[in-house]
Amino acid sequence: MKRKRFPVLYALQQFRKRWILLLLPLINALVRFDLPGLITSLIAEAAVILVLAGGSVLVWQNAWWQLEENALTVATGIWWHQEVTLRPEDLACVEVYRSPLQRLLGAARVNLYYAHQKGSVMLYLPWGDAQPLADALMAPPAPDSRIYRPKGLDRVGLAAVSSNLFAGIWLVILTRQQTAQVLDELAFVDRQQLEQAALSQLELVEEYAALFLPAGLAWLLTGVMLFWIWALAASALHTARFSVAGDGQRIRTRSGVLTLVTRTVDLSCVTAVDLSQSPAARITRCYPVYLRAGSFAGKDVPICIYRVGREHYLNALIPDCPLWTKMGVAPLKDRSIPAFLARPGFCGGLCLVLYLVSRWALPQVSWALGLLGLVCALWGFFQLEGFFREGINFLARDRILVRYVKGFTHHRVMVVTPQAGYLLYQTPYNLPYGRCNLRICLPAGQRLRVRSIHREAVARGFQSERQ
């Protein structure tokens, strides 16, 4: 195949990369607040835009890609010219991504994730070239391969997270009430009196702080909740029309409504399979399963939804990966409770003290502190589950099942690569009991942490695994 040029979107992307340079001419004028200087700056700004646009076009003209029999070559840069050659066996995952803008321009983004090192290569290609290139680098599963598509309760389970909307709406109403109260009280306050008080009388300033703080806090919480809802809505759009196909060698997933994503993962490069039990997943009893392969972390879209009694889907997609197997945990008597409860305990205690103080000093913020205290209590509850269930089991064929709790989510991770690194570390408090913490470093930088496990048992497991 002869050399091909990237679409015009590549030049736009190059321009966007250097947008920070656009601010340089304006800084001086804005800092001095100088209007005549601003006009000069705007002229300089136009010159900078022209130079940047010209540079982007030049970079675009000199960039090319070429697909030969067994390798893809990508060339970029003018002054620092770089040619990267990628072989299909170096890749763990090929992803074709089409945002609404890219669909409008007839382009697509292809992400190529390395199998044995960190990082990925990103290419903007015309849509007509993107999918054939992805198929050439990593062949799709056979047409008659098993297809999983969430239906019925699985789809409801995925959509259930949108129930957080109700909490968000409640917070907006509460915030509106708080703000209205502040505005009503402000109507009786003279502005000059406010300024004099702020300068001269600290007590009055405190009163004003007490007036504004609840509304500010409420708006902050509302902002956080709205951001959360926005993230959930984006996630719901991202996971819509989800389907997955696999033939035991490769897995291909398709998802999205506005943004279309097609991923092909080479199963020989899979490093870990993660069954995530978040609170929402527990309520709906639909547990998402995520795949990690090489430098591909795959945290945004699961490869399938696991439900009790329907293990065959997961088994068909990833053979020999019994994530649902019940495994024993080490004896609990020497386990360290502070290792699990120290953080939520500290935060919860702080919230409790602040709540008690606010009850007589600043009752308007008590509800927010109570809410935070409740979140800390829930956090502590989930960490307590980690105390009982966190552990590591060494299975046949160099596979390791890791169970750990992070935040509110319980993870069951099957480490399937022999290339994982391990760090065992102890503290003086752990030494007499012979326990340690374990950090598992997967290739390409992902990390798992298991707390307060028996050091000797883990060391024996590693020795038997490596023999």
Partner: protein
């Protein structure tokens, strides 16, 4: 094969760490001489403890399939790195290190890396040969 930091190498790193503390100590000395002196002594004490209970206790065992490094007395640790693929070795030395016949080695793999401080030049070459024999360095 097994390697450990050599005493001369630990002294070199002690000197470097000590020199790092000299800058704030001198700045403090210019303001309050006694505080500068005390800071410098405390820094040397911490450096000595770090070298004695941290660096000097490291033991490295390398087999064809994995590298195991153990160290630390107060905070014991153990690192296990598979040497199956993508292993890189970096050898760093300064004039002072070369004078005392030691160097600093960093071994990296796709799943992490480990610093091998203050080992002899001969040991470093042996490790390079050992890993190079696997065709990955």
């Amino acid at each position: 094969m097994e390697v450990s930091p050599i005493p001369g190498g630990v002294v070199v790193f002690g000197c470097y760490l000590g020199a790092v503390g000299l800058v704030p100590a001198l700045a403090l000395f210019a303001l309050v001489p006694l505080a500068g002196l005390l800071f410098w002594l405390a820094w040397l004490g911490i450096t000595f403890l770090a070298a004695r209970f941290g660096m000097a206790t490291i033991r490295i065992h390398i087999s064809p399939r994995q590298l195991v490094a153990r160290g630390g007395t107060i905070f014991p640790w153990e690192v296990r790195l598979p040497l199956d693929a993508g292993v890189r070795l970096y050898r760093i030395s300064t004039p002072l290190m070369r004078l005392l016949g030691c160097c600093l080695v960093r071994v990296t793999t796709p799943s992490g890396g480990v610093w091998l401080p203050a080992i002899t030049q001969m040991d470093a070459r042996a490790i390079a040969r050992f890993l190079g024999g696997e065709g990955s360095v």
